[in-house]
Amino acid sequence: MGNRLGLGTTKALVEVEGKPLIIRHLEQLENEDDIRVVVGYQAEKVIEVVKQYRKDVLFVFNHNYRETGTGASVALAARYANEYILSLDGDLLVHPEDMKMILACQEEFVGGNPVETDDPWMLQTYERDGQEYVSAFSKCMGNYEWNGLTQMKSSKMLKGNGHVFQLIEPFLPVRFMNIRTKEIDTVNDYERAIEWVRNGYK
């Protein structure tokens, strides 16, 4: 809900270099035809911004956003979806090249990057035949930071009230994918994100 940023707006509407995060997502998803935006806090504001940019979006309400986690939002959006759903948090910036790689991926994965933030959920991984797999989500230890990105079969994501990773946990191990992202949670994150975009995502 954007509280830690102190900007008084839902994080999806926070602007980086003059453009709201949600619009940055929509630009990267230009060729996708089933886009679902889950709205709760400041729903009308989010709807207004999105529909100015693109009309053929399905808005899904999570009216209980105060009592539930992002997992509940994903579960609502997963109803009657395609075989796979790609879930992106509203407060995330994704490297454009990595987004292309994600959109080309035809299987389940859990996304992460090297640990960067102060209080992350981490991914424990192992390697088999040259491919890394996520075996657990953990607060204490892990090789990577979970960045909220995942692609899973929609039929597996239909129930849950907590975090997105709690929906995924019963189905581990799942392929790991290293994805360059910036999560915008604090003012420092925000400044880092702006810098990242300005420098061409370097």
Binding site: D34, A43, E44, I47, K51, K55, D56, V57, L58, F59, V60, F61, H63, L76, Y80
Partner: protein, 200 residues
């Protein structure tokens, strides 16, 4: 196959124009009608009172003339196609009067699948409205899980009671009361029909 029944609002959900203001425009009393319609959609006047006031404005227009205007109104054809294709599971729920919408219902083949308000006719003129629909009551009668699609304040309770309640903003803004209780809101007819087809 799902067991869903689909309930559709008529005005500015199936139709591309609002019915009563369109009639009023054709018979030269648009401004008064527009004001009343807007107040009603926003939920500032109870639907029943507003509807009766609006009917009063059109009482002196021959029923047949109104029926013809309504029959020829522009429609959201993709929604109509969905309804025609899934006719046995689709119902239209509208506050409008049976005597005014019968031609339109015939045009889209939904004469037997409509819940609406009813009136008595004498000669070619409306004599009395004898029932005004309560969309909430229709929703409460449903046994099977249902999907409801609408945009106005009088659709809110039906949308709230639905397993899947969809606010449709393709013609006009969705009423705040609908936004407050719908499970989904959509602003493109194509996207609405795409989602409805997944629910069949």
């Amino acid at each position: 196959m799902s067991r869903y029944i689909f309930l559709f609002d008529l005005d500015s959900t199936i139709t591309k124009q609002e019915i009563l203001p369109t009639i009023a425009h054709k018979v030269g009393i648009y401004n008064e009608m527009y004001r009343l319609t807007e107040n009603t959609m926003r939920g500032e006047i109870p639907f029943k009172q507003s509807f009766l006031q609006r009917v009063e404005l059109l009482k002196n227009v021959p029923v047949n003339e109104v029926n013809n205007i309504v029959r020829d109104i522009e429609l959201n054809e993709k929604i109509v196609n969905f309804i025609r294709t899934n006719k046995d599971r689709c119902y239209i729920v509208t506050g409008n009067l049976d005597i005014w919408i019968s031609g339109l219902m015939h045009r889209i083949g939904m004469e037997s699948n409509v819940f609406c308000s009813k009136a008595l006719v004498k000669g070619d003129y409306l004599e009395d409205v004898f029932s005004v629909i309560d969309k909430n009551a229709i929703a409460r009668q449903m046994i099977l899980p249902f999907v409801a699609v609408g945009d106005g304040n009088n659709d809110a309770e039906m949308i709230d009671a639905a397993e899947i309640g969809i606010g449709f903003g393709g013609v006009r803004d969705v009423a705040p009361s609908v936004l407050a209780c719908s499970t989904h809101v959509v602003y493109s007819e194509e996207k609405l029909v795409d989602y409805l087809e997944r629910l069949v």
